[in-house]
């Protein structure tokens, strides 16, 4: 829609990218994102991203699951319709542990995953902006948003080649 202009540097190797990121950032150039075919450890740190804390939603959803499961078992057999089943108490606590455990895991796993999808804007109908199609194969693509940088585009291009980019392209979206 709005004509945004990105400079995309293509790298071949994860170590080179890592170096380049550090150098570019030290220059004060803001990197939009680096796209990799596989997870490169430390890259997020190099890019200055916060530590991903997916454990938080997992815990929250998990706790919800625990409570739900406990309420479900307690309410149905303990309150709504208590029955004498094999001479046990109306609400025999130990026998409900498996249910509580399973529902905890279920909600934690799904809650966290869907939170992840939501945070990353992933979904079946999402049309992604692909800066370089090879970034899912064997290349590392570093995208720099020109609008967000004061440095001129030619300068960035040159600097990119300098830090090891095999190709430097311009992508308008």
């Amino acid at each position: 829609m709005t004509d945004k202009k990105y400079i995309v540097g293509i790298f071949n190797d994860e170590d080179v990218v890592m170096d380049a990121v550090q150098k570019i950032r030290s220059k004060g150039i803001k990197i939009h994102e680096v796209f990799c075919p596989y997870p490169v450890h430390g890259l997020d740190h190099a890019l200055g991203y916060e530590r991903p804390r997916m454990g938080v939603p997992a815990f929250l959803f998990g706790i919800t699951g625990t409570c739900l499961a406990f309420l479900l078992t307690f309410w149905t057999l303990g309150i709504d319709w208590p029955m004498n089943i094999g001479g046990k108490n109306f609400f025999p606590f130990p026998t409900n542990i498996p249910i509580v455990f399973e529902l905890t895991v279920l909600l934690a796993a799904f809650g966290m995953s869907f939170t992840f999808f939501f945070m990353e804007g992933l979904g079946p109908s999402v049309k992604p902006i692909i800066f370089d199609i090879r970034s899912t194969d064997d290349k590392f693509a570093m995208a720099i948003d020109l609008n967000k940088n004061t440095v001129s585009d030619s300068e960035i291009k040159a600097f990119l080649s300098e830090v090891g980019a095999k190709e430097v392209n311009v992508k308008e979206v």
């Binding site: 071949n12 190797d13 994860e14 170590d15 994102e33 680096v34 796209f35 990799c36 075919p37 596989y38 997870p39 490169v40 450890h41 430390g42 890259l43 997020d44 890019l47 991203y49 991903p52 804390r53 997916m54 454990g55 997992a58 479900l72 149905t76 057999l77 319709w81 089943i85 094999g86 046990k88 026998t95 409900n96 498996p98 249910i99 455990f101 399973e102 529902l103 895991v105 279920l106 796993a109 799904f110 966290m112 995953s113 992840f116 990353e120 992933l122 979904g123 079946p124 109908s125 049309k127 992604p128 902006i129 692909i130 800066f131 199609i133 090879r134 970034s135 899912t136 194969d137 064997d138």
Partner: protein, 454 residues
């Protein structure tokens, strides 16, 4: 960052580049199916249809087409169920536990193993349905509000725990598998055109592989692995509760949870071994699934096989030590009663046969590995049969003691699950990448021969 022990063989051989990996693996998804695939698929579908006929007949006529009787209320049905659930353990276990332990060699096999898990769990679930007298009412096992005054379910029943455990395990496994697939699906999407691009595009959820996404993705994977690990252990624990919480001598045993889990890992790895060896040959993935992988798998098989062996012996000891007459008889009857052959089959296949892997030569022999893996799976089937049938057929009151003889219905329904499993597996291997490309690429640099090439 990652430390690889120097003596370890390379995880990927053949000097692959990142692009080679993509090519090797996507090729099978993108090209027309091979003749071998077609033949194998056709056979699976035939078996599925034949077995499906028996399943329909079972539903139409009633469970009398099986060989069960008043005393032996479960036999092949639950044996198959537990067997499939056990097999279904390997996938998530490989992915989750090995991920937690940072065992990088898992990368080549976890995708296929997870897929297998899902199909095996589906097969197991089909037996939950099939073994019911009135399967069309299976949804009554779920706590849904209803017009019966809202009559709930019995949360005391291990079968309800099963329902929760299996469905949770299935959904979480699917999720785990799917999340692992997303980057690879994006790879395929970026190579594809037309309708395939749309489909793989939708499936990949618009994945781009940004560093931030990767970071969160890794975190999600790790936590999922963390959640799946107790889950995977809980599933077979709960399945074992079906027996352990009962009063039947031979079932009523506290040793069951660990024993079942070990058995599940055992049979699961054996099944993964089987499928991996087949895939390796058919898809020519020798560079990804190396002898090192096979050897490692065999070691685990030997270990878990020995664990179940110890469990078998422990059971006898406990039975003798307990002084409970019924318990003692149940175990003597297992080994010497009318169903002694199943006990012998179990002992031979599960405890004896994996011991050949103490020899390196045999451990790294593909044919031997394959044969032993098959034998182990047969043995694990017998183990469940022994536990279920020999315990039931002679329990407390001798007046009710009977014998169990399978009928065609039992066999047909078992065949159905095989047909279903292999049909699903072949479809998977055709339409989805059988090896996790992103993960393999991630370990390529640090552990392949090419690491010093740039």
């Amino acid at each position: 960052m990652s430390v690889v022990s120097p003596i370890r063989e390379h995880l990927v051989t053949g000097g692959k580049t990142y692009h080679d990996v993509t090519e090797d693996i996507c090729r099978h998804v993108e090209s027309k199916p091979t003749k071998e695939w077609k033949i194998a698929f056709a056979i699976s579908v035939l078996v599925l249809l034949y077995g499906g006929g028996w399943v329909l007949w079972t539903w139409w006529e009633g469970l009398g087409v099986w060989g069960l009787n008043k005393t032996v209320g479960w036999a092949w049905d639950i044996t198959n169920f537990v067997w499939w659930v056990g097999i279904g353990h390997a996938g998530t276990l490989i992915s989750a536990i090995l991920l937690l332990f940072r065992q990088k060699w898992r990368t080549s096999i976890n995708r296929a193993a997870e897929a297998m898990t899902i199909f095996a769990v589906l097969c197991a679930a089909s037996f939950i349905l099939m073994h019911m007298g009135r399967p069309w009412l299976a949804y009554w096992a779920l706590p849904l509000p209803n017009t019966f005054g809202s009559l709930w379910v019995n949360f005391n029943s291990p079968l309800v725990w099963d329902v929760f455990a299996i469905s949770t395990y299935f959904s979480v496994s699917c999720l785990f598998w799917f999340i692992g697939l997303i980057p690879d699906l994006a790879t395929i999407r970026d190579r594809a055109t037309g309708i395939r691009k749309t489909i793989y595009g939708a499936l990949s959820l618009g994945w781009t592989g940004g560093a931030k996404t990767w970071a969160r993705y890794e975190d999600v994977s790790l936590i999922l692995a963390g959640l799946s690990t107790p889950l995977v252990l809980s599933v077979h624990t709960i399945v074992s509760f079906d027996f352990a919480t009962s009063v039947i001598p031979g079932w009523h045993t506290t040793i069951f949870p660990p024993y079942f889990v070990a058995g599940a890992i055992f049979s699961g790895f054996a099944m993964v071994q089987n499928l991996m060896l087949v895939t390796r040959v058919v898809y020519k993935l020798e560079d990804y699934i190396t002898l090192e992988h096979i050897s490692l798998m065999n070691k685990i098989i030997t270990l878990t096989g020995s664990i179940v062996g110890v469990a078998y012996i422990t059971e006898f000891f406990i039975a003798a030590y307990s002084g409970v007459e019924y318990e003692k008889y149940a175990f003597i009857n297992r080994a010497t009663g009318p169903l002694w052959w199943s006990y012998f089959g179990m002992m031979f296949c599960n405890v004896m046969s994996p011991q050949v892997f103490w020899f390196k030569k045999l451990r790294e022999n593909i044919v031997v590995s394959f044969v032993i893996a098959v034998v182990v799976n047969i043995g694990m089937w017998f183990e469940r049969f022994v536990i279920i049938v020999t315990s039931l057929h002679r329990d407390y009151l001798p007046s009710s003691w009977t014998y169990f003889t399978p009928r065609m219905g039992d066999i047909g329904d078992y065949l159905f699950s095989f047909g279903f499993f292999f049909t699903c597996f072949f479809l998977f291997s055709k339409f989805l990448p059988v090896i996790n490309m992103a993960e393999v690429k991630a370990v390529l640099k640090s552990s392949s021969e090419k690491k010093s090439n740039h």
